[in-house]
């Protein structure tokens, strides 16, 4: 192969691309990931958090249903952090490409989509661009009750009113691990040295986090990302949400249940619905 392509390959190897695989058959919807994230990232809380449309969450747990009547009903929980999309062509992430002030950026050395709170001026264009609704806006001032500000994590700066925030894959933990490695004169960052708060807190062990480009990391084997195709999973039963949009998320899901996998793709879902509809019609005719 030509020198250039070899150089490219070496580049590729040097680059990290952190990603997440969530096993939907293991997830129990307990909510630990959400709470762990809140406490790790100084996410504010209000007296009434029942309006989920104005509530700030870096990771949300959806409850999917197969919409069948009792007792054929099945449900499945789907945790959703920021997908850290690689974008159609690398870096052309839906939100990053539209931010007028470069307040959010795709770091091609980690595959993490950053958010600079002190830069964001709150136009919310990124929120409109994100098909996953992974971004939250600070509609009000964050207020910590007397004494509770003591629990704030110094590694993450609290946000001011009027800016957008989102999951950062606990970037500060990456920095910590990187600095530690650098200090110890190592290049590579051990898999266990950098794990997100949600991964760490999951009692069901449903979340796997690591470097998709690193064959040594478990996630690489569990997903087998096709790096030529924006990291499309080669592994059976592994899928991404809205694959067809070409956002190329770094968050993968796996489930052995077909109806769950269909939930990630509008067309599959539709076709599936049509099939079942046809089926029921037949039954009707027979009846």
């Amino acid at each position: 192969m030509s020198k250039q392509t070899m150089m490219k390959k070496r580049e590729q190897e040097k680059r990290r691309k952190f990603g997440m695989l969530i096993d939907l058959d293991r997830c129990t919807g307990c909510g630990s990931c959400m709470v762990a994230c809140m406490s790790e990232n100084n996410i504010p809380f209000r007296k009434d958090e029942t309006d989920k449309l104005t509530s700030i969450n870096w990771i949300r747990v959806f409850k999917l249903s197969n919409h069948k009547p009792f007792p054929e009903t099945e449900i499945c929980f789907l945790p959703m952090p920021c997908m850290h999309c690689q974008g159609k062509e690398t870096g052309h992430t839906p939100c990053v490409s539209v931010c007028p002030v470069t307040a959010t950026d795709y770091d091609s050395s980690t595959g993490i989509v950053s958010q600079i709170y002190s830069r964001c001026f709150g136009c919310r264009y990124c929120m409109v661009a994100c098909p996953y609704h992974s971004r939250s806006f600070n509609w009000s001032d964050a207020v910590w009750p007397e004494g509770m500000e003591k629990m704030l994590n110094p590694q993450v700066s609290p946000r001011m009113r009027g800016v957008v925030e989102k999951c950062s894959f606990c970037y500060h933990r990456y920095q910590e691990a990187r600095d530690k490695a650098h200090f110890e004169g190592r290049r590579n960052i051990a898999e266990e040295a950098y794990q997100t708060a949600c991964t760490e807190s999951c009692p069901a062990g449903a979340i796997t986090f690591g470097d998709l480009n690193n064959p040594g990391h478990r996630i690489h084997q569990m997903v087998q990302p096709d790096l030529e195709n924006g990291g499309r999973p080669k592994q059976k039963n592994v899928f991404r949400l809205l694959e067809r949009l070409g956002t190329n998320p770094a968050v993968y899901y796996s489930s052995t249940r077909t109806w769950v996998r269909n939930m990630g793709d509008n067309r599959l879902l539709q076709e599936n619905r049509q099939h079942t509809a046809a089926g029921s019609n037949l039954q009707d005719r027979r009846a």
């Binding site: 007028p100 001026f121 806006f137 001011m160 009027g162 269909n262 879902l269």
Partner: protein, 410 residues
């Protein structure tokens, strides 16, 4: 005395009566300003926007206002670049409307951002790949140009003319107006387009996403086009309203007819283009994204149903287009202005759906449609442009020469 207004026109109403008539508008404006202050002081929790409706009433108002303000650049293009002299009768007014629209648009943007004091980051840390950056740059510069274009009109005021410098300034700026108008047209083409690009580039939002050429999605061109069509219509509409209020004839019929005819051809051609765009989008773009276009209109048919397409493309596009291009249609003034209204409404609907339906529509299969009702603060602030518009037009009409041929006509 009667000639106090100094525009050399007689039978002006007394200042007292003039301002009394404007009083309700001022009241409404005060309400809007109160809401505006609340929003700036207390933050965007004053609105009913949420994490799904990141864009809402305000952004729609922005897009609509700027489209309608397009009359200034398009009339400018016809008058100064293509040299349609007869449009002199209305160009001043068109520019005034433009100034008002763009001024309001910028005000609303200042309200809409969460950190207004950081507004200048958009220039300072500009991300040139963002359509919004393009909009912001062009908008600001073009607003300056509009003011320059309006300067001569302002300096026509005899009181100001007494100052030689200003008199000459007015004359000189007018002399090189072609240059300014030229830049204005150039910029308008881009920012009108970029506004369309804003939603067009959202490849995460199948309802809004469009393919295109280079960095520009089709909506980029459609927006410029529709603005060129709707702008003049809005100018004509506001002019007509001014005529009704003042009870005087302000612009000769041939001018109205000319502008209406051009607008007619624009809207008609736009409708054709829009139809092609829609068909291609429905048949190809959305399918590639894994959607069937019917879903966009059937799942929430009451608020976002097929009726929107019919209303926007047929009723507010094709119909007025056909009327305006036909001699017979334009002869009947009632019909002419009806279709002008339709065009204006049509463009507002178009901007509405592209903002609202885009965010209302769930992309994830397991999310639901979410609906939104603006808070009174949003409504009140959105009325500011209307009120300030009325007031500015009234004042300008009273103290400036907006319609050069007014006196001959009366």
């Amino acid at each position: 005395m009667d000639t106090t207004s100094g525009t050399g026109r007689l039978n002006h109403c007394s200042p007292r009566r003039f301002y009394l008539q404007l009083l309700p508008v001022f009241v409404l404006l005060t309400w809007g300003i109160y809401a505006m202050i609340r929003v700036w002081a207390l933050g965007l929790n004053q609105t009913h926007m949420n994490n799904v409706y990141g864009f809402a009433l305000w952004i729609w108002a922005d897009l609509a206002i700027i489209a309608l303000g397009g009359g200034a650049f398009f009339t400018g293009l016809l008058r100064y670049i293509l040299g349609k002299k007869e449009l002199t009768a209305i160009i001043n007014f068109a520019v005034l409307v433009g100034v008002i629209c763009y001024g309001s648009a910028m005000l609303i943007l200042a309200l809409d951002v969460g950190q207004p004091l950081r507004f200048w980051f958009i220039y300072w840390h500009a991300n040139v790949h963002s359509m919004l950056t393009e909009v912001a740059f062009c908008l600001t510069v073009y607003f300056v140009i509009l003011n320059i274009e309006f300067l001569p009109v302002l300096l026509e005021n005899p009181k100001l003319r007494r100052i030689p410098f200003l008199k000459h300034l007015g004359h000189n700026t007018h002399a090189i107006m072609g240059l300014f108008a030229g830049i204005g047209v150039f910029l308008s083409f881009f920012h009108q387009g970029s506004l369309g690009g804003m939603t067009g580039v959202l490849y995460g939002r199948p309802f809004a996403y469009r393919e295109g050429v280079l960095i520009w999605p089709w909506t980029f061109f459609l927006y410029t086009w529709s603005a060129a069509a709707a702008g003049p219509c809005f100018t004509l509409l506001t002019m007509k309203l001014t005529e009704l209020v003042s009870g005087r004839k302000l612009v000769p019929d041939r001018v109205v007819d000319l502008l209406a005819r051009i607008a007619g051809w624009m809207i008609l051609s736009y409708t054709v283009a829009k139809t092609i765009d829609t068909v291609y989008w429905a048949g190809t773009t959305t399918v590639a994204a894994g959607f069937s276009w019917t879903r966009f209109y059937s799942e929430n048919a009451l608020f976002h149903g097929y009726w929107i397409l019919v209303l926007e493309i047929i009723v507010c596009g094709l119909v007025p287009g056909l009327i305006l291009v036909s001699e017979k249609g334009r002869i009947k003034k009632g019909l002419l202005f009806l279709s002008v209204v339709l065009v204006v409404v049509g463009i507002c609907i178009n901007r509405w759906t592209l903002v609202m339906q885009t965010v209302a529509m769930p992309v994830l299969p397991f999310e639901k449609w979410s609906l939104y009702l603006p808070s009174w603060q949003e409504v009140a602030t959105t009325l500011i442009p209307l009120c300030s518009g009325i007031i500015l037009v009234a004042l300008s009409y009273r103290y400036l020469v907006l319609f050069p041929e007014e006196n001959q006509l009366n």
